[in-house]
Amino acid sequence: MATGDGARDPMASAQRNADAARARSAHETGRAEHHETLADDAPTDVLRSVHLRIAALHRSTAACHDISARLQSDYVARFGKWAGAGNTPRPMFMTGVAAACGTRSAALTLVGATLDQLALAASDEPSRSAQELEFLLGEGPARDATAEIRPVSATGPALAERWPGYGPAVTELGIAEVAAVPLSLAGVCVGALAVFDPAPGLVGSGTFREVAEALTESMILNPDGDPGLYGAVDLRALVHQATGMVSEQLDCSVTDALELIKAHAFAEGVSAHTVADRIVRRELRLG
């Protein structure tokens, strides 16, 4: 990611972000307490309720920063353990995000103005595969959560009813339940956080939404944050290189070229990355 230096020294960066999130939380709590005092002293019910409302908003922002601080501290701890251990895979920030949501499988997508996925970060193979299906088919929970700026979920047969392409395909991956919440702040939506086969009770609980808010407020849309999530966010560089190639070879737009690659990948039952890799190696020529 061009934004943030978290990919270079994730541990130091996460430690710094954890400290900053804790300081912001304490600050918001102080602001909440101030308005609670004003509410106590308010001469009328209306003024009291206005101050209580402002206090509640500060408290909810404080809670966001607390969650964020915990996610970062957890990542620092896992990273520290890993650095001391040896040949285990490098810890991923998204693993902690998934755990905070009560699942192993969580994926975060960042979108542009057209709602097309620009980047993704996934906690494990199933969530990556599910997100890949959304990318290939242009439909699914993350896209809907982003477009509608509200939570989306579906289970079992409802998957295919809601998404005729994505539903059956994600069911074939062995996933029975999907849910997504928008990454939005102050009416601006930059993507979605999706979970797959979450623990019972997560969807509809405040936790899932709070984790998404914490990531948005503290990491993605924060001048001190790291929208690259410490190198976890993948831009699909190879797919876009292949897109450029196909567009030149077939004299078509990059939009059409990307659609061709996606269609080819879906038809072959492989990822866009796999197809792109073959195109860039000149082992495959579309059209």
Binding site: V46, L47, G112, L118, V190, G244, M245, S247
Partner: protein, 244 residues
């Protein structure tokens, strides 16, 4: 507080005005300030109220008040950079009830004091308008005659001002959030266009993507252009980047 013509209904209306703007749309600060001034005047008994708002050093001070004379006084005070409002704004602390014919007022705000006394005011106080961690303005109260402004009136004024600071803070955060979201979208889109251009150029010149990237970068450097702009033109076939 029985001496004040304070009704639930009036307060309710004040805060409906203050909190009306939806969270997703920036409110109009001028309207917010005007309604703060109007409602403070209405709520705080015989006091006149002026709101001073200085969003940043590059923006002229905005004032709101009820009545032409008061507005002129407020504007002149802002232009002269003097008076209780400026002081509360600068220090971030309230200016307590002060006699306008007293030594301190005449010394600290000579021009302001004369003007306010001509309009018949004898007492003043100012309450800072906090927006987040900053003080971006003040609510100035002016009382007729020599009776000191009661402490509970100042407390109510501050409570009202603190409530008014919140929509202003929310607006500021909304603007920052939008700017950050735009930056993020642009950063991602730029990176993607550069990857596409590597592929386009690699296919066009039958070279590897790494070689294509070196060509793009050196073309951008030697023509003093942004890599993203060069990449976009390559992808849109508006620019030929020659092989080395």
């Amino acid at each position: 507080m029985t001496s004040m013509p304070l009704t639930q209904q009036r307060l309710a209306r004040a805060f409906v005005d203050l909190a009306r703007s939806p969270v997703t749309e920036p409110s109009d600060p001028a309207g917010l300030l005007a309604s703060l001034a109007a409602h403070a005047t209405e709520l705080l008994g015989d006091c006149a109220a002026i709101v001073l708002y200085v969003p940043d050093e590059h923006t002229p001070a905005q004032v709101a008040g009820t009545g032409e004379e008061l507005m002129r006084l407020a504007q002149d005070a802002a232009d002269l950079s003097e008076g209780p409002g400026r002081e509360a704004c600068r220090t971030g602390r309230p200016v307590p009830d002060t006699a306008l014919d007293g030594e301190q007022a005449r010394r600290d705000w000579p021009r302001y004091t004369a003007r306010a006394r001509q309009l018949g005011y004898g007492r003043t106080a100012a309450l800072p308008l906090h927006v987040g961690d900053d003080t971006l303005g003040a609510l100035v109260l002016l009382g007729r005659g020599g009776t000191p402004l009661p402490a509970e009136l100042l407390a109510l004024g501050q409570s009202l001002t603190d409530a008014a600071g919140w929509p202003l803070e929310r607006d500021r955060r909304l603007r920052e959030t939008r700017a950050l979201a735009d930056q993020l979208g642009q950063a991602l889109t730029s990176r993607i266009v550069i990857e596409q251009a590597k592929g386009t150029l690699a296919a066009r010149l039958s070279i590897t993507v790494d070689e294509a990237f070196r060509l793009l970068r050196s073309h951008a450097r030697s023509n003093r252009r942004r890599l993203t702009d060069v990449a976009r033109e390559v992808v849109e076939r508006r620019l030929e980047v020659p092989a080395e």
